[in-house]
């Protein structure tokens, strides 16, 4: 047993799912981490919290490395005497590589560094995508940063009113549906905007996420202020013989994703044709027809028959904006702003969109106002105008139902200034 008596946490060592308690204890046991007492004291303060049911962490002050306005989250506990090992317990956000592939060499070096300067504990990964090094003291920060940049050629991620660490799905690296290279886009955009990422210049945080297709494996439509979701313009590629194979039962539908339950024989009518949200598919018993003009590329049929159907070849991305969590005005999903944009390096088209949007937001946004909130406050019309794009019915699910149109004076013949006298000449009181 560890330094503290932790009966409740010990109970969490039971059960099949990996126990973070066992893991922290094992780290404590090694004693290799710079903050010797940290793992034990973390368990100690957590056990105390399990008794009190109120967190024992305090607001973090401004903590960081020289010249950066982000990347470190300051954190202090409110029982430093009892738990000196975690009295100061700041986290370090390390910018993960695109879609989180690693060599063991790099990981071992990074872990060695973290043992050398921290608690030996991490989050793999943070919700935004960073490698989160969990808990160290201020005096370790500069050294950690210096060695990380010099020896690992690795930079920090974002926090505060900055660009946050962009993230992407694995895309073309291991997925047949990726409509553009999410990894390359994510990497290039991250490097293009290093200054915005490290030095707060925004009203609030800003997040990019890159999904290779509408399945949304990196949840960009819910979790990023600007979301790039792969799509295609031309026709779904069909291999009719493979379709027949699915119908014949030679291949499991949906890549075997339902294989542990007997759902009966595959029924293409029921499982594909009738579920197509646009009703643009037809199956005549021999061949599958798709009226691609009416397809909204929802991915369902491709998901069900990956061997038979593939996205078109004229690919790019849709750009959505404004997703965020509920604070303050309620959660938002991304709104479709640019239906289709090419996604080839050097990604000039999207950089143009990004910069116009940022200029507007930095100009008009209030303190702690996300761009999605600004869109609501200043209207979608306004955003479209600053992006210099035309209104498009694809931006809305339906036209307005209220007749409260804000006409502009220049749209109304004769303008707005009128002389009441002229009116009264025709209309007595």
């Amino acid at each position: 047993m560890g330094k503290h008596n932790t009966p409740m946490l010990d109970d969490l060592e039971k059960g099949p799912w990996p126990s973070f308690v066992s893991d922290i204890k094992q780290q404590a046991a090694t004693g290799k981490q710079k903050l010797q007492a940290a793992p034990d004291d973390l368990l100690g303060i957590l056990e105390l919290t399990y008794n009190d049911k109120v967190t024992h962490w305090k607001h973090g002050g401004i903590v960081g490395v020289f010249g950066y306005g982000g990347g470190i989250i300051g954190r202090y506990c409110d029982q430093p005497q009892q738990f000196p090992g975690v009295a100061h317990f700041h986290t370090v956000r390390v910018n993960q590589p695109s879609s989180k592939f690693y060599t063991t060499k790099f990981l071992r070096e990074l872990m060695a560094l973290w043992e050398k300067y921290g608690s030996g504990l991490t989050n793999m990964h943070g919700s935004t995508g960073d490698i989160v090094l969990l808990g160290t003291t201020t005096d370790n920060l500069e050294l950690l940063f210096y060695e990380m940049t010099h020896e690992l050629n690795q930079d920090l991620g974002g926090s505060g009113s900055n660009l946050r660490t962009p993230e992407c799905c694995l895309g073309q690296s291991r997925c047949e549906w990726a409509c553009y290279d999410t990894q390359e886009a994510c990497h290039q955009i991250t490097n293009e905007y290093q200054d915005e990422l490290h030095r707060p210049a925004f009203p609030y945080k800003f997040k990019f996420k890159f999904d290779g297709c509408p399945n949304g494996c990196v949840a960009s439509i819910a979790r990023s202020d600007m979301s790039f979701i792969g799509t295609w313009k031309d026709d779904i590629r069909i291999d009719q013989s493979a379709v027949a194979a699915y119908v014949g039962g030679d291949v499991l539908p949906n890549g075997g994703a339902h294989r542990n339950r007997d759902w009966g024989k595959f029924n293409i009518e029921k499982e594909v044709i009738n579920l197509c949200p646009t009703g643009c598919m037809a199956w005549d018993g021999k061949s599958l027809k798709i009226n691609n003009k009416e397809c909204t590329r929802c991915m369902h049929c491709l998901n069900v028959m990956p061997r038979a159907l593939r996205p078109g070849t004229e690919t790019g991305a849709s750009v959505l904006m404004g997703a965020k969590a509920p604070i303050l005005e309620g959660a938002q999903l991304g709104t479709l702003i640019v239906p289709f944009v090419p996604m080839e390096p050097p990604f000039s088209e999207i950089k143009d969109i990004i910069e116009k949007a940022w200029d507007w937001w930095m100009e008009e946004g209030k303190n702690r106002e996300r761009i999605g909130e600004l869109m609501q406050r200043q209207t979608l019309q306004k955003l479209i105008q600053v992006l210099e794009i035309e209104p498009d019915p694809r931006m809305v699910s339906e036209p307005r139902s209220n007749p409260y149109i804000f006409w502009r004076e220049d749209e109304v013949e004769g303008g707005w200034t009128r002389d009441i006298a002229d009116y009264r000449a025709k209309h007595q009181r």
């Binding site: 990996p18 973390l42 991490t122 990964h125 994703a257 005005e329």
Partner: protein, 372 residues
């Protein structure tokens, strides 16, 4: 040469960004990138992707507690060195993936992974998390590191994953079920679009630390932080500048505390869990959806949060029985109607579940279409 504290700017390196992902791609991935033809899930946690070249990559996905020690990561590296030529990756839901380029290499890898356990018995690398099952829970810091939580994160996740472990290693649900946890309304887990969301909420208005508030906080910022304008300036008997909260207008969002450390909300009995269901992110068939609140409050019950675990399990059970193949929880609830959802799950429908915020009207039923 090493870092010189007296001259921090000396050959300082900044703005270099992350490492270039290409350095980290396994050869078979690098070679076939962008040329994948199709995939298949061979068994829970084991995928094969086939490329135009005929090459195949086999992926073994394992669950992980997101809070990980250096020690455990090194062990993952050992596995990757032994079987995967020194490559591995993490998924967007905090699972680890080991990839090999030949079918023959799969079984030894899987067997090895299944045998690795912590001394106290839990798996280090449980295989699963694919297809129509329950994969890892996206979550946040909770009592392990944050100052605003209403609940813990790691402990609740451990308890829930133990409870639904069968579904992690199986693919027998109508569709994927994505569970997420956020320990306060800031929702760092972005749980607002999850099949099942476990959300920490407060139910008591902030206390005011009168003695300190004017020293610790920018009072105007705290006032401005309140979405319902519940916070007003005040003076203490002793004449100190302070604030008061109109409790009637407070909806416990915690934004004031985020801005001002002298306004704590968290409370032993006041804070706890709300359960939301029916959200989704994919554009498959139906459009992305927000999760809806179906259980307004469950008390914090460390260390195992039994009420929460049972709620999640029973919602999944009812859904598994009743939904159509491919139907996400939210699509199912909308098809049968929310009145049926509450009937089938046995959850009580209370006034808390009726929207009364900005878009409330748009959630009321403007039709005679309903089920008795």
């Amino acid at each position: 040469m090493p870092y010189d504290p007296n001259d921090p700017l000396k050959d300082r390196i900044t703005d270099i960004g992350p490492r270039y992902y290409k350095e980290f791609l396994p050869p078979v991935i690098e070679k076939n990138k962008g040329k994948w033809l199709y995939h298949e899930i061979l068994e829970p946690g084991v995928l094969v992707h086939v490329a135009e070249s005929g090459d195949k990559v086999f992926t073994v996905r394992v669950g992980a507690a997101r809070l990980m020690s250096v020690e455990l990561i090194k062990e993952a590296c050992d596995v990757a060195d032994k079987y995967c030529d020194g490559y591995l990756r993490w998924t967007t839901r905090n699972n680890i993936e080991f990839m090999v380029d030949a079918e023959s290499k799969v079984k030894p890898l899987v067997d090895d992974l299944k045998n690795r356990k912590f001394s106290a018995g839990s798996h280090k690398f449980p295989v699963g998390g694919t297809g129509a099952g329950v994969t890892n829970i996206v979550h946040t810091q909770g009592w392990v590191h944050c100052h605003t939580p209403a609940i813990d994160a790691s402990g609740v996740v451990k308890a829930v994953m133990d409870g639904v472990f069968e579904e992690f290693g199986n693919m027998r649900l109508p569709a994927q079920v994505r569970v997420a946890l956020a320990c306060c309304l800031n929702m760092c887990g972005a749980v607002h679009c999850s099949d099942i969301a476990i959300l920490g909420i407060h139910r008591k208005p902030p206390m005011i630390d009168n003695e300190w508030i004017d020293k610790l906080c920018e009072l105007p910022l705290a006032i401005a932080a309140c979405p319902t304008a519940a916070i007003k300036p005040a003076k203490t008997e002793s004449g100190l500048k302070s604030l008061t909260v109109n409790a009637e207008r407070c909806m416990f969002c915690g934004n004031c505390y985020t801005m001002c450390a002298a306004m704590p909300l968290a409370d032993e009995v006041g804070s706890g869990i709300a359960i939301l269901v029916g959200g989704k992110i994919s554009n498959r068939v139906s459009k992305p959806k927000f999760s809806k609140v179906v259980i307004p409050f469950i008390p914090n019950e460390p260390p195992r949060w039994p009420t929460t675990v049972n709620a999640v399990k029973s919602i999944i059970e009812v859904y598994a029985k009743d939904a159509n193949k491919y139907e996400r929880i939210g699509e199912w609830a909308e098809r049968i109607g929310w009145e049926r959802f509450f009937e089938k799950t046995g959850l009580p429908f209370t006034h808390h579940l009726i929207d009364d915020y900005r878009f409330a009207y748009t959630t009321w039923r403007q039709s005679t279409q309903f089920k008795f």
